[in-house]
């Protein structure tokens, strides 16, 4: 797993403390003011996410999902409350947290391998170990034969795999994904989801996954956070106690349908 990162703070000696959450939100809020008028993008969110958990955020457009992720990533500062990663308040981006966007944002003048190694260059540690790691991650996302290819030679799905490999190479503990496969077709997306689950489970990475797709959220997650807009807030949570590993066939099960129904119920009527 993550041998290079220190263990989360052990509790005070003598107490049997519960495991510390890896990501925590305490009254996390954000209000944007655009030319005088104020928009509450997110109303105080309280949330505790366990290490290794796969948690999805669903909700209609404008309910503050991206805003939430951006604050956890340290790309946006809250106007109320705080986000904590490993018990420390987030003030700026950190290597413990990787952020995957809807677009792959590959650099077209770099090969797949060079793109994947870009963060390592930024961190100033592009040694043999990192190169080997990059190779094995590229292999793991199914692009073993494309290390020397340029982005324009790859399909959209393959480009997102490169973006994923770029993050996995620097071994973050938390992976934030903002509709990462939203631009892909249904088939590619399903395949990507399965692979994402397999890889992040194997590496013990905590995933915060934003999507518009309820089925996808229920299928992959340990927990689904349901959000509603105006003002953006968490209106409910659903534990997904389905066994793992999960196969596509699971979607035909009654338990699965019930969970989807439950999520829809919280969202209220009229959401696709």
């Amino acid at each position: 797993m993550h041998s290079m990162t220190p263990e989360a703070n052990p509790g005070p000696p003598g107490f049997a403390s519960p495991p510390k959450p890896i990501v925590e939100a305490r009254g996390l809020a954000k209000t944007f003011s655009i030319s005088g008028s104020e928009v509450t993008a997110l109303e105080g969110v309280d949330l505790s996410i366990r290490r290794g958990e796969f948690i999805s955020f669903v909700g209609p457009s404008g309910c503050g999902k991206s805003t939430f992720l951006n604050m956890v990533a340290g790309l946006l500062s809250p106007t109320g409350g705080e986000a904590l990663v490993n018990g420390v308040a987030v003030r700026e981006p950190s290597r413990q947290v990787g952020f995957m966007f809807q677009t792959p944002v590959l650099l077209p003048w770099r090969t797949v391998e060079q793109n994947v190694l870009m963060p390592a260059e930024v961190f100033g540690r592009k040694d043999k170990a990192v190169r080997d790691k990059a190779r094995s991650v590229i292999e793991a996302v199914g692009l073993g034969g494309f290390v020397g290819a340029y982005p324009r030679q790859l399909s959209g799905g393959m480009q997102q795999r490169v973006a994923l490999a770029r993050i996995l190479t620097y071994e973050p503990e938390v992976l934030l994904m903002d509709e990462p496969f939203g631009a892909l077709d249904e088939f590619t997306r399903e395949a990507m989801n399965l692979e994402l689950m397999r890889i992040t489970r194997a590496a013990g990475i905590t995933v915060l996954f934003v999507t518009h797709n309820i089925t996808e959220a229920v299928f992959m997650s340990d927990r689904v956070v349901v959000m509603t807009p105006r003002p953006g807030k968490v209106s409910g949570m659903v534990d997904i106690a389905l066994p793992r590993p999960r196969e596509i066939g699971l979607m035909q099960k009654q338990a699965f349908a019930d969970l989807i129904f439950e999520v829809r119920g919280i969202l209220g009527h009229g959401h696709g």
């Binding site: 966007f101 944002v105 650099l107 077209p108 959209g156």
Partner: protein, 273 residues
């Protein structure tokens, strides 16, 4: 990046269209050139235009061949070539420097952009007599003129190119805690390079204009000086000969830049034009 993959497909289609199409266009261009050159030869001979105003092509060709063999010609040629090259290089560097500063520091842009735009509104040729007065009849005044005309397209294209870096790319760099400098040379600069290069090509053309205009206004050597001289002597064949040489300098430089462009910005391929 979805863009890139679409582009790649487009280029494949063009290639499927085949080389023959490209050659057909080249053939048409060639025919037009031949017709124009033939008209140039025969119109003066037939008396359609005065041979003094427009000497026939063969006379110009002859003038060109004799001119390039003269000792004094090489001196004029190198003077102008040097003015153009120095003006072009300095103009490019200055344009790139200012454009980068404007893109990186929003405060600098807000303060100085009105001056930049205002300066561009001036037809800079009016400075030529002034530069002669300030920097003398020598090469310096011509170089300054070339720089002043040439730097602007590079400045604007650098600014536009650097500012067009996608927001997600910036966020990516922030999320891995890249420094401003790292973001600049790993993402922004390569991203802007194709646009900057278009400005650099324009700068070359402008540097030629600047040097020649400077020589027109006041000089004792250079190709612009020769054009002016032969014009007064009504040796129009030689005027055309020098113009041909100037055109060759401009075209040569341009093709050199095109070649460099294709080498440097290899990821764009032919479809990006």
């Amino acid at each position: 990046m979805a863009m890139a993959s679409i582009n790649a497909t487009a280029s494949n289609n063009v290639r499927a269209g085949g080389l023959s199409e490209q050659w057909r266009y080249r053939l048409i261009s060639l025919v037009i050139i031949v017709v124009l050159l033939a008209a140039w030869e025969f119109a003066p001979r037939a008396g359609l235009v005065s041979a003094i105003i427009l000497p026939p092509l063969s006379k110009v060709a002859h003038a060109l061949l004799t001119l390039v063999q003269q000792d004094f010609f090489m001196r004029h040629f190198t003077v102008t070539l040097r003015e153009i090259l120095i003006g072009f290089v300095l103009g490019t560097l200055i344009g790139f420097g200012i454009g980068t500063a404007l893109a990186i520091w929003p405060a600098v842009k807000r303060v100085s952009y009105p001056f930049v735009v205002g300066f561009q509104a001036i037809p800079k040729i009016v400075f030529a007599p002034l530069f002669i007065a300030w920097f003398g009849f020598g090469e310096t005044s011509k170089v300054v003129m070339a720089v002043v005309i040439a730097f602007f397209p590079v400045l604007i294209n650098t600014l536009v190119g650097l500012e067009s870096v996608p927001e997600d790319a910036r966020r990516l760099m922030r999320s891995i805690r890249a420094t401003q400098l790292q973001t600049f040379y790993k993402v922004s600069l390569p991203h802007a390079l194709p646009v900057i290069f278009a400005g650099v090509k324009a700068a070359l053309t402008f540097a030629v204009i600047g040097a020649i205009v400077g020589e027109f206004v006041g000089a004792s050597e250079g190709l612009g000086y020769l054009v002016d001289l032969y014009n007064h002597q009504l040796r129009i064949d030689r005027v055309f000969a020098v113009i041909t040489i100037l055109a060759a300098i401009g075209a040569g430089g341009y093709f050199l830049l095109e070649w460099l462009d294709a080498k440097l910005i290899f990821w764009r391929n032919e479809e990006g034009r």
